[in-house]
């Protein structure tokens, strides 16, 4: 799905931690649970995906489209925004349980 984001379009590499299942994001030199730490992988996504999967540092990894914003990258698809934040119906279980407006970022 193409994005209408112009120069702010980025590609992120995401997956799950193998042992815990936690959602993780590629930071350039490792993996983070927080999408704010994610970096644009540009054209290196497929190579990174293969490298990190082979090294067992990530499971079920895939590349997504996102938009760069001052607050950090925002995935193009709602499914990935929910993955990044947590279930919208349980704010207490999200990555930002203290932020009452966190859910609006998803929608």
């Amino acid at each position: 799905m193409g994005q209408d984001c112009g120069d702010t379009c980025v590609k992120l590499l995401t997956g799950n931690d193998l042992a815990t299942g936690d959602v993780t994001w590629w930071t350039g030199d490792g993996w983070s649970r927080h999408i704010e730490d994610a970096v644009d992988v540009g054209d290196h996504g497929e190579a990174l995906l293969a490298q990190e999967t082979a090294a067992l540092r990530v499971n079920a990894a895939y590349l997504i489209d996102a938009t760069a914003t001052p607050e950090g990258p925002r995935p193009a698809h709602i499914k990935d925004r929910i993955r990044a934040l947590g279930p919208t119906v349980r704010p207490d279980l999200t990555r930002k349980p203290a932020d009452p407006n966190a859910g609006s970022w998803v929608i």
Binding site: G21, V23, L56, A60, K79, P87
Partner: protein, 544 residues
């Protein structure tokens, strides 16, 4: 209820050991994800949006207080303090760590539970009537037959690598509380004119992308031939199933493509081949199993009178308590649908409380329902008020059984990697819009079911009102269906027209209920009125 013998326990324990080794090999890298995925799925372990999800089997929805308490223990120790009861009478946990999954299975095995065949291309957890053994309208308790099929098919090599998942339901009552005609095989126990026990056999029902109501394949199958006949149907399916196309692999597609008559002919022919082989389970084994389902020692000469002087209790009594076949007893439905809550979710504390009540007041028995509620099947009427007070204080006494706020909803896009749209927020908004209990009761029986994708885990095809969440160019959109039923008058809902936003679908439902209130005849439910007047007045109100 059924208790494991040494064989049951040994195979479950062996499976735990096997999965522990497989998990270790995956974490070490000895197995790739492609190699490991079918192994974890054979143990109910999925990888979902936020973590691994474990689906635990509750055979035909029946469990003891001890087993229920274990479900609470798992929620507290390994998850985030809650579990989610599903439309297959199972429970699933959303925040499981792979490295802890073998320990969870080991804990489950200590109370005769497991996660075997809760996913993958296998015969899934059998479902049944949540009122089994207590219902006033049943010819007998259907669960011994469900247990028999469970035992006969668990790890059965012929049924371990099926073309696709396979779902069986068994009931024995006039009222269909298990949606049998929306299963791959639906079995209804009946008695023939000679008083002999047998099954009406329905094959080829299902929801999902291509929904069908199962046709009647055999009007009377002698009860002793249950296994061989099911095996014949599975063999015919195994022979012809479209393994080349995932969307056409279910038996419903085969029944539809062959036609009911030809499919029936092939099953009957196959059955005649199997019958002489003597594969049916001996009656003595069924009798052994049935002993575990003997009625509990009901007390006699109990009063049927209940003090209704507390008006809130009286409403709950009328709405959530059903007739029991034993005088002085009742069936209690515990709603897991508080207004604005998450359908089917229950906290570890609530799980343990329900386990306590079951042990003290329901002969240590509980049932999970396909409508994502819990049933205490055998409760003395003179204890109802005390039980209601405890449930009320724990947020478990919403008096909304079968009303518009008793919504079935799949986890949807909040948790599920297959979903296209969120289901739970829609359910919460509808329940909140119709929160007024007087209004709900005025609307009467109205089964509302929501799925977040075409796979239909939320049974939207079978809702009097159904909602299907779809992805429209990256935005959630909701199609509205009217006229479905999963009961003995089974039918599939029809789409009203163009879809809606999240708020728009709530408005549309309110308009539909307004049409019903305006047009209904004496004694008609929403579904009855829809069937009588058709879609047109509803469409006009919704889109006009």
């Amino acid at each position: 209820m059924y208790q494991y013998d040494k064989y049951d326990q040994s195979i479950v324990d062996a499976r735990v050991d096997e999965f522990r080794e497989q998990t270790a090999r995956r974490i070490s890298g000895a197995l790739t994800e492609d190699q490991f995925k079918p192994l974890r799925l054979k143990n109910g372990l999925y990888l979902q949006l936020h973590a691994y999800m474990l689906r635990v089997a509750i055979p035909y929805g029946t469990m003891s207080g001890r087993q229920m308490r274990m479900l609470g223990h798992i929620a507290r120790k390994y998850d985030r303090g809650y579990g989610h009861f599903t439309t297959r009478q199972n429970i699933q946990y959303n925040w499981i760590k792979l490295e802890e999954a073998p320990d969870i299975l080991a804990d489950l095995a200590t109370v005769e539970m497991h996660a075997i065949q809760t996913s993958g291309e296998s015969i899934r957890n059998l479902s049944s009537d949540q009122y089994a053994g207590a219902a006033a309208d049943e010819v007998c308790d259907p669960r011994p037959w469900a247990e028999l099929i469970r035992q006969a098919t668990t790890f059965h090599p012929e049924f371990s690598y099926l073309p696709r998942k396979f779902k069986i339901a068994v009931t024995a009552a006039e009222e269909d509380r298990a949606a049998i005609r929306l299963h791959d095989i639906g079995l209804k126990l009946v008695k023939n004119d000679a008083g002999e026990l047998g099954f009406e056999v329905y094959i080829g029902g299902g929801m999902g992308r291509t929904p069908f109501v199962a046709p009647l394949i055999r009007s009377f199958l002698p009860a002793d031939n249950l296994f061989s006949y099911c095996a014949a149907a599975l063999r015919v399916w195994n022979r012809w199933a479209r393994r080349d196309n995932i969307h056409k692999q279910r038996i419903k597609i085969l029944v539809h493509d062959l036609g009911t008559e030809e499919f029936t002919r092939q099953v009957e022919a196959e059955w005649q081949e199997i019958l002489p082989l003597g594969t049916d389970v001996p009656r003595v084994e069924l009798d052994r199993i049935a002993e575990y389902f003997a009625p509990p020692p009901f007390e006699s000469e109990l009063s049927d009178n209940v003090d209704r002087s507390d008006p809130d209790f009286a409403v709950w009594l009328d709405q959530n308590v059903a007739a029991h076949k034993a005088p002085g007893y009742a069936i209690v439905n515990i709603s897991l649908k508080p207004i604005g809550g998450i359908p089917g979710d229950v906290s570890a504390d609530q799980i343990e409380l329900i386990a306590d009540i079951a042990e003290q007041h329901s002969f240590d028995e509980l049932r999970a329902t396909h409508a994502q509620n819990i049933v205490l099947p055998h409760v003395r009427k003179d204890r109802l008020y005390a039980i209601w007070q405890v449930l009320r204080d724990a947020g478990l006494a919403e008096p909304n059984l079968d009303l518009i706020s008793d919504i079935i909803a799949c986890p949807g896009l909040d948790y599920c990697s297959l979903a296209n749209a969120r289901s739970i927020p829609v359910a919460q908004k509808i329940a909140t819009r119709f929160a007024d209990l007087g209004r709900q009761r005025e609307l009467g029986e109205l089964k509302l079911k929501i799925s977040g994708c075409i796979n239909a885990c939320g049974h939207h095809h079978a809702g009097h009102i159904g909602i299907l969440g779809v992805d429209r160019k990256g935005t959630e959109n909701y199609q509205l269906l009217l006229g479905g039923s999963g009961a003995e008058d089974a039918s599939l809902g029809s789409i009203t027209g163009p879809g809606f936003s999240e708020d728009g679908v709530v408005d549309a439902i309110e308009k539909a209920t307004n049409v019903y209130m305006r047009e209904r005849a004496e004694g008609e439910r929403f579904l009855d009125t829809y069937r009588r007047i058709g879609m047109a007045p509803f469409k006009e109100a919704i889109y006009g």
